[in-house]
């Protein structure tokens, strides 16, 4: 039985110059372009045009060309960008050709679902170990993982030099858990707990507030219904 999965780092072997810091909108567009290119590649397309990508991204074509130029992907007029080149380069830029270890904190319904999701590795994230403070959950199996007690979390973070945490704990304990993780050296938190976390400036937080997203959807549906 494996309680802790160790990530591996793969040298992408790139000889290209590193790109500067990219803004979040650019990163999001590039991540979608990568998905589109992978899908196109699977369907046998050797090239993708900026118009195709712009159409699927719902942005202007010039923005796609600018993004591609920013990361050093060269296209040809009337041919487009080689699909293989888009995939390879974006994997380098987005860090998808390396695995980053993360700890997952909170193995309730949402945390367990995240733990079972096999797709994170495609995006370079590997859950090294999962923890819960509730001893009724400790030692239970979820997917490939054995849930570990929070009392083991510190030594796992230290041993594997983990810098990323996926947080799926109840709102009431999310901030104090985040504070503890930051004190332990965590530098990026993917937050699924329904509160807005306060962290130091050098820590990155991505909030995935599902309740907020749902409220937004319902609000739009209601507004649309009222107009109709």
């Amino acid at each position: 039985m494996r309680a802790v999965r160790q990530g591996r780092k793969i040298d992408s072997g790139s000889d290209r110059a590193p790109v500067g810091e990219l803004s979040r909108p650019v990163l999001e567009r590039l991540a979608i372009c990568h998905q589109l290119a992978v899908r196109a590649g699977e369907e046998g397309a050797e090239n993708m045009s900026s118009a195709q990508m712009a159409n699927l991204l719902n942005v202007d074509e010039t923005l796609v060309r600018k993004d591609m130029a920013t990361v050093g992907i060269a296209g040809k007029p009337r041919v487009g960008y080689p699909t293989g080149q888009i995939i390879k380069r974006l994997e380098e830029v987005l860090g998808l050709s390396e695995y980053t270890d993360a700890v997952l904190i909170g193995c309730g319904s949402l945390g367990s679902a995240l733990l079972r999701y096999p797709g994170f590795s495609k995006y370079g994230l590997r859950i090294a170990a999962a923890f819960d403070a509730d001893y009724n959950k400790v030692n239970q199996r979820v997917g490939d993982y054995t849930i570990l007690p929070m009392e083991k979390c510190r030594s796992v973070i230290d041993t594997f030099a983990v810098e990323v945490a996926v947080l799926a704990v109840p709102a009431a304990v999310a901030q104090e858990t985040a504070d503890w993780l930051v004190a332990r050296g965590i530098r990026a938190i993917w937050n699924f707990s329904p509160i807005h976390l306060r962290v130091p400036a050098d820590v990155v937080v991505r909030n995935e507030n599902l309740a907020l997203g749902l409220a937004e959807l319902i609000h739009h549906l209601k507004r649309k219904g009222a107009k109709d």
Binding site: A3, M150, E151, K152
Partner: protein, 136 residues
């Protein structure tokens, strides 16, 4: 000179008795409790210099939770805490590979001074207690 007090917490009466005798023989004043709840009440009253806690008692994490409560309380937070557990051996028997050791000590989750495996010779426990709080 006033004797230093050690709180022994375990749900195994034989363990309590054997180690109480050894610690008293070593010159300590010993009080015992067989549940975490009783231990907390006792600790607030007697303010021990050291507490020796079993982990699995009425709950699988009783000792962990008790250690945190002792650290939070103003009257008990200065007690040196020794966790004494058979959990590692139990986990090994179940095929669970992680173990608890001093490396797991943490001010939030495991605010203890030492983590030791059971079984332990009473003389060894007396030596560890003496190392942490000094002789009587």
């Amino acid at each position: 000179m006033k004797k230093k007090t050690v709180l022994l917490v375990d749900d195994d009466p034989d363990f309590l008795e054997a180690n109480r005798l050894a610690l008293e023989g070593g010159g300590f004043l010993v009080c015992t409790a067989d549940t975490a709840e009783d231990a907390l009440k006792l600790a607030r009253r007697v303010r021990p210099e050291a507490a020796v806690l079993d982990v699995v008692m009425d709950a699988p994490d009783s000792g962990f939770a008790l250690a945190r409560k002792l650290r939070e309380g103003s009257s008990t937070q200065s007690a040196r805490i020794i966790l004494l557990t058979a959990l590692n051996e139990l986990n090994r028997e179940k095929g669970i590979i992680y173990e608890f050791s001093d490396r797991d000590r943490d001010e939030r989750w495991l605010p203890v001074d030492r983590i030791l495996n059971k079984p332990i010779k009473p003389q060894k426990l007396v030596a560890v207690v003496r190392e942490l709080i000094g002789g009587p």
